[in-house]
Symmetry: C2
Subunit: 296 residues, 2 copies
């Protein structure tokens, strides 16, 4: 690979974590209940993670010469949305997960009511970050809010979670439809948000969306593959959990080899979408390969 | 009163309900799970209610000559936020309410997971409405998103709900602090959002905020009074529920007479804030009086 992608991800994850912490505690409260809420939000937002969505915002903005500090608020906002979704997904009424990234999930570390509110708080505050004076000009801010809320809302991520909980016929189309909303929509939003900050053309935004759509689907297929091939320790969550829950996965439908083929095809499509950006897109290309080849 | 405020509220509530229905079903899904999500969102958004916050948006925008149709998307968005908060507040882990406005709450009519997602969907989609192309110019849209997300987020409504669930010392200051966040912040946002659409000056926005702060606190004091003086039937929820739950209320702290005095004082303050708007503000003045004198 042309870039040290793993190291770049690690460094940027650290920068994003610091920005998340600053944001959650930006008005650190001296009221005990509010401080507890902020701590629960931090617990849900700061437990590690690849910070893939923020990385995409930073890198796609970088294609257009946008410096990291300028893309960072949008990167922070989308990660707040991602983290809220994990907090709510872990709730007993949803996936009922006691742990997340090897730590107690928020409703286990605090309680259910606090987990619901911490999620609501992260979700709502993300839009405050995007529109805070000084972060973005009004036209960019409004476009970012629209892109992020579309990706995260009932037609996007929330709708995907609903389809995942109440699946219909488990055809390949339906599995792809769930994935496209549940994880794909927010990954697309991330890539497009970077383009919006960089004032990309409509054609460039379409290419970024196509890149992210392929990367997002490949990411999910790899997740499904790892769920059946990796140990719980390597994953930081119970292995085979999807299968046990009777959930639709790419592996249950395509088989392991078929799923691996699909990853290869999607990675090629991701590269093709980036073609006009040439050498500037080396990191995004490497990212697609790294995500396809990852083992956890 | 100089206006038929009750009739105006009723008419506008109907217009807002229709706008909410159009918004929730704007992309009516043919995927069963997504249609079910939209129906659950509609159940939570369309069960009646005074539509006080949308009314404030429409009326404060009207002070500046903004026509109803132009303020309607913002009015719809803030009601989506209000309704999401009711859906989540009713959850078993929160207030555990089986009914809302005489109907089954969303988690009773559907299930807990759907109620969580319906709330998340309404909350997120509200920001899509504010930034949808054609609704507002970018500077107005960005300001609306900022005002609404601040009022609804961890420093506003979500924080107030957290303080309500985990109260500290039940002094008058603390009760006021809970109210100011839990219900006051969104009522303030409503009044200010109308001003933003009307391109009000900073001084005018401050006056609208002061008006709404007084009306919002008076509204809560009256709620507390009604909770101990009215029957369950008249309220549409169990009477004395606050007292039973050991919650801090204005009545438990100030007594009935003290609470009534406070309503009078706050209504006077609300009128004073409107003084510079003269006759244009007659409906807002009548609203303050009507809310103070209401019996349900």
């Amino acid at each position: 690979m042309g870039s040290n992608i793993t190291e770049m991800l690690r460094l940027r994850a650290q920068i994003v974590s610091e920005a998340l912490s600053r944001t959650v505690f930006s008005e650190k409260s001296d009221i005990p209940a509010l401080l507890r809420l902020q701590e629960a939000m931090a617990h849900g937002a700061l437990g590690g993670g690849k910070r893939l969505r923020p990385f995409l915002v930073l890198e796609t903005a970088g294609l257009f010469g946008v410096v990291e500090s300028q893309a960072l608020p949008a990167a922070t906002a989308i990660e707040m949305i991602h983290c809220y979704s994990l907090i709510h997904d872990d709730l007993p009424a949803m996936d009922d997960a006691d742990t997340r990234r090897g730590q107690p999930s928020v409703h286990k570390a605090y309680d259910e009511a606090i987990a619901i509110l911490a999620g609501d708080g992260l979700l709502t505050d993300a839009f405050t970050v995007l529109t805070a004076p000084g972060n973005y000009s009004a036209d960019v801010a409004a476009a970012l809010v629209h892109e992020l809320s579309r990706g995260a809302g009932s037609a996007g991520m929330v709708g995907g979670q609903m389809m995942d909980l109440y699946p219909g016929t488990l055809t390949e189309d339906e599995i792809a439809g769930i994935q496209k909303r549940k994880t794909g929509a927010l990954i697309e939003a991330a890539a497009v948000m970077g383009g919006i900050i960089g004032r990309a053309s409509e054609d460039e935004l379409s290419r970024l969306r196509a890149y992210a759509a392929s990367v997002g689907e490949a990411f999910q297929v790899v997740d499904d593959i790892l769920d059946v091939t990796q140990s719980a320790e390597a994953l930081g969550k119970p292995a085979g959990a999807d299968d046990e829950a009777g959930k639709a996965t790419y592996v249950s439908l395509l088989g392991l080899d078929g799923a691996r083929d699909r990853v290869g095809l999607l990675t090629k499509k991701a590269e093709e979408a980036l073609a006009p950006f040439g050498e500037r897109a080396v990191v995004l290309r490497d990212l697609a390969h790294m995500l396809a080849d990852r083992s956890h």
